[in-house]
C-alpha cells in the first residue's frame, strides 16, 4: 500500500481509494460480515453447540478430507499434465490443452449432471459397472470424482507457465552432467516449480472445500454420509435453521480466508507483480 501511494501524491489517492471502498464494502465485505454476525447472534455458546452437532462436525471433516484428497491427486495429475503439455510435441496437442482447461468454463451443475449420466445407475458406464458392485454416485467416491474434475485446471494453470518459461538449457546441462530423466526432474525442474506447486495445491484445496454445484448433483446429500459442508449450509438454511447454517458458514469462511492468506504470503513475493528479486 505504502508503495503505491507514493507516486501521484497522497491527495489524489484519497478519491479513487474511497470510491473503491464505497463499492467493495457493500459488495464484498458486508455480506461476509453478515455471516459472522448471524453466526454469533445467539451468543458464543449457541455457536459452539451448533458447530459441535454430529452432522455439522461430519460435514466439516468430510469436506476437509475430500479437499486433502483432491489436492493430493490433482497435484500429481496436474503437474504431470503440465509437464507433458509443456515438454512434448505431438499431434492433437492444441485440442488436448483446451480440453484439460475446459472444467473452468463449464458450469459446475453441468459437471454434476454429466458425471451422473456417466457413472450413475442409469448412466453409460454406471450401468455396466453396477453389477460389479462399483457405483460411485451418491457415495464419497462420487464427490471425489466431481471435485477432481472441477479443480483439475488449477494445478495446470499454476505449473504450466513456469514450465513453459523454464529454459531448456538447465535441463540440457543436467543431462550433459550425466543426470537421468528422473534425476533431472527431481533436482532441476521440481525446485523451479515450487511456488507454482504450492499455489496450485492451495487453490485446488480451497476450491474443493467450497465446491457446491457439482457436489449437490452427485452426492445424494446424505447426512453423515456424503453431505459436505457447503451442502450442509444450504440444507440447514433451506430448513430455516439459519444459526446452524451460519455456524458452519463462518468456519468455512474463516478457513478459506486463512488459506488465501497463506497463498498471498507464500506466492506473493514471486507471483503476480513479483519483481521482488
Amino acid at each position: 500500500m505504502a508503495k503505491t501511494t507514493k507516486a501521484p501524491g497522497a491527495g489524489s489517492a484519497a478519491l479513487p481509494v474511497g470510491l473503491l471502498l464505497a463499492v467493495l464494502v457493500p459488495l464484498l465485505l458486508m455480506p461476509l460480515a453478515a455471516v459472522f454476525v448471524f453466526a454469533f447472534r445467539g451468543g458464543f455458546k449457541d455457536f459452539l453447540s451448533a458447530l459441535t452437532a454430529e452432522d455439522a462436525q461430519f460435514a466439516l471433516r468430510f469436506s476437509l478430507l475430500i479437499a486433502f484428497l483432491t489436492a493430493a491427486v490433482n497435484a500429481v495429475l496436474g503437474t504431470f499434465a503440465a509437464y507433458v503439455l509443456a515438454k512434448y510435441r505431438f499431434p492433437g496437442k492444441k485440442p488436448l490443452t483446451i480440453a484439460v482447461n475446459l472444467p473452468v468454463a463449464i458450469p459446475t451443475v453441468v459437471v454434476g449432471t454429466s458425471l451422473l449420466l456417466l457413472w450413475g445407475p442409469i448412466g453409460l458406464l454406471g450401468k455396466a459397472l453396477a453389477p460389479l458392485g462399483f457405483s460411485p454416485m451418491f457415495a464419497p467416491a462420487g464427490v471425489l470424482l466431481a471435485h477432481l474434475f472441477v479443480t483439475f485446471p488449477y494445478m495446470l494453470g499454476a505449473v504450466k507457465p513456469l514450465l513453459d518459461e523454464l529454459e531448456v538449457t538447465y535441463e540440457e546441462a543436467a543431462y550433459t552432467l550425466g543426470a537421468g530423466k528422473w534425476q533431472t526432474f527431481r533436482y532441476v525442474i521440481l525446485p523451479a516449480l515450487r511456488g507454482g506447486l504450492f499455489s496450485g495445491t492451495l487453490l485446488t484445496f480451497a476450491h474443493s472445500l467450497g465446491e457446491f454445484g457439482a457436489t449437490v448433483m452427485v452426492s445424494g446429500n446424505l447426512r453423515l454420509r456424503t453431505q459436505t459442508a457447503p451442502l450442509f449450509i444450504f440444507a440447514q438454511f433451506e430448513a430455516g435453521n439459519v444459526e446452524k447454517a451460519n455456524a458452519v458458514a463462518a468456519v468455512l469462511a474463516a478457513l478459506s480466508f486463512a488459506i488465501f492468506f497463506f497463498l498471498l504470503r507464500w506466492s506473493g513475493p514471486t507471483g503476480g507483480r513479483g519483481q521482488g528479486h
Binding site: R61, L65, I122, S199, G220, F262, W266, S267, G272, G274
Partner: protein, 360 residues
C-alpha cells in the same frame, strides 16, 4: 500467477515452513480423526435410509424415527440408525430415479409415486396395498399472512387483489406447490354455479399467479423466504405453520412473524409412502418393512399429530389444539384423483393457460 515463480520459498527458512506443516498436519488429523484405525470403532449398527419431502424433517428426525429405534431395540435387541435426506418431493423423486440408495421414501404427492413406478424404481401401484392406500398423514393447505393480517386476506381469491405479494413453492419441484394449485382451484370450483366450475377455479388461479413474487424449490424453503420478509402471503401446509409457531415459541424469540388464515374451502394433502425393496438386501428388509408398518401405529400417528400433521385416523386429531376449523375440506379424490388433476388443472390450466399469459 507466478511468472518467475522461482524458489522464494527457500527464503522462508525452517520455523515458518515448520509452522505451516504443523497447521496443515493438525487440519488433516482433525479431518481423518473419526476414521483412524484403533479408535475402537463400534460395529456399525443397522442403517435405514429414509428420504422425505421437505416439511417432514423435524417430525421424522426428532420424534418418529427415534421412537422406532427404541421400539426395534426392545423387540429385537438390535440398534438401528437412520440416514435421512429431505428436499422438495419432486427433487426427491428425481434423486430416487437417478438411483440414490433409499429404503423408504415419504412423498407429498401420489403422482411422484406414479413417476417412480413408471421409471421402474418400484412395482406399479405397490403403495396402494399399504394401509390407507399408502397415505401416512395429511395436512390442509392454508394461508400465512403478516401479523394482524394488514391486507385483509381471508381466501385464495383475496391473493388476486392489487398490491398483494405472494410467496409460492415451485410446482416443478415441490409436491406441496401442486397441492396448493389444487387448493386454489378447487376451493373456488366447488362453490361455483354448476357448469361454471372450471371458469371460477381458473380465475382464482390466475389472480394468485399474477402476484407470485418468489418461487422456492420446496414448501420448507418457501417458508424460509416468507420468514425472511418476502411477500404478504404464503400458501403452504398447515403443518409447517403450526409447527413453525411452536419452534419459535420454544426458542423464546419475538412473537411469530405470521398468522394462519384458514380458507373456507381447501384441500387436505395426503402423503404417500413408497418402499424401495430393490435397494434393500434380504437381511435389511424386515427392519425396513417394520418401520413402514410402524408409521401407522398409534405411537407414530400420535407423534405426527404432535408435530402438526393431521392423522389419517380422525379420532387422534383432537390431541393438537393448534388445528383450526375448515368449513369445507376436500380431497384430491373429489376431483377424480391426481392423474386427472395433473392433466386438467396443473398441465391444462396452470401450465397451458396461466403461465404463458404471465410473461406479457
Amino acid at each position: 500467477m507466478g511468472r518467475l515463480g522461482s524458489s522464494s520459498a527457500t527464503r522462508s527458512g525452517w520455523p515458518r515452513s515448520l509452522l505451516a506443516l504443523l497447521v496443515w498436519g493438525a487440519l488433516l488429523l482433525y479431518a481423518v480423526w473419526p476414521w483412524l484405525p484403533g479408535r475402537g470403532r463400534r460395529t456399525r449398527p443397522r442403517t435405514i435410509i429414509v428420504y422425505g419431502f421437505s416439511i417432514l424433517g423435524d417430525a421424522l428426525d426428532h420424534s418418529v424415527l427415534p421412537a422406532f429405534a427404541r421400539h426395534w431395540r426392545a423387540e429385537t435387541g438390535e440398534r438401528v440408525e437412520f440416514v435421512t435426506s429431505f428436499a422438495g418431493s419432486g427433487t426427491v423423486t428425481n434423486q430416487l430415479i437417478m438411483g440414490v440408495p433409499a429404503h423408504l421414501a415419504l412423498l407429498s404427492l401420489e403422482l411422484d409415486a406414479q413417476r417412480l413406478a413408471t421409471a421402474g424404481v418400484i412395482p406399479p401401484g405397490s403403495w396402494k396395498s399399504l394401509p390407507f392406500g399408502g397415505v401416512v398423514n395429511r395436512t390442509p393447505f392454508i394461508l400465512l399472512v403478516r401479523p394482524g393480517n394488514p391486507k385483509g386476506i381471508h381466501d385464495f381469491a383475496d391473493l388476486g387483489r392489487p398490491g398483494v405479494q405472494v410467496v409460492h413453492p415451485d410446482p416443478l419441484t415441490s409436491g406441496g406447490a401442486n397441492w396448493a394449485l389444487l387448493a386454489e382451484y378447487g376451493g373456488a370450483a366447488r362453490h361455483a354455479a354448476p357448469g361454471r366450475e372450471r371458469e371460477a377455479g381458473t380465475a382464482v388461479l390466475r389472480g394468485v399467479w399474477k402476484h407470485v413474487v418468489a418461487q422456492a424449490a420446496s414448501a420448507r424453503a418457501a417458508r424460509t423466504q416468507f420468514e425472511n420478509g418476502f411477500g404478504d402471503a404464503l400458501v403452504t401446509y398447515e403443518q409447517d405453520a403450526v409447527h413453525g409457531n411452536e419452534d419459535e415459541a420454544k426458542k423464546k424469540k419475538s412473537a411469530p412473524k405470521w398468522e394462519i388464515v384458514y380458507p373456507p374451502s381447501t384441500v387436505l394433502s395426503e402423503h404417500t409412502l413408497v418402499i424401495l425393496d430393490k435397494n434393500a438386501t434380504p437381511e435389511e428388509r424386515p427392519a425396513v418393512h417394520a418401520l413402514a408398518a410402524f408409521l401407522w401405529s398409534d405411537e407414530a400417528q400420535k407423534l405426527f399429530v404432535a408435530n402438526g400433521f393431521r392423522s389419517v385416523r380422525e379420532e387422534l386429531n383432537g390431541a393438537n389444539p393448534a388445528f383450526g376449523h375448515i368449513v369445507d375440506p376436500f380431497l384430491v379424490a373429489d376431483f377424480g384423483g391426481w392423474t386427472r388433476v395433473k392433466k386438467d388443472v396443473v398441465d391444462g390450466i396452470w401450465k397451458g393457460e396461466i403461465l404463458p399469459g404471465l410473461g406479457k
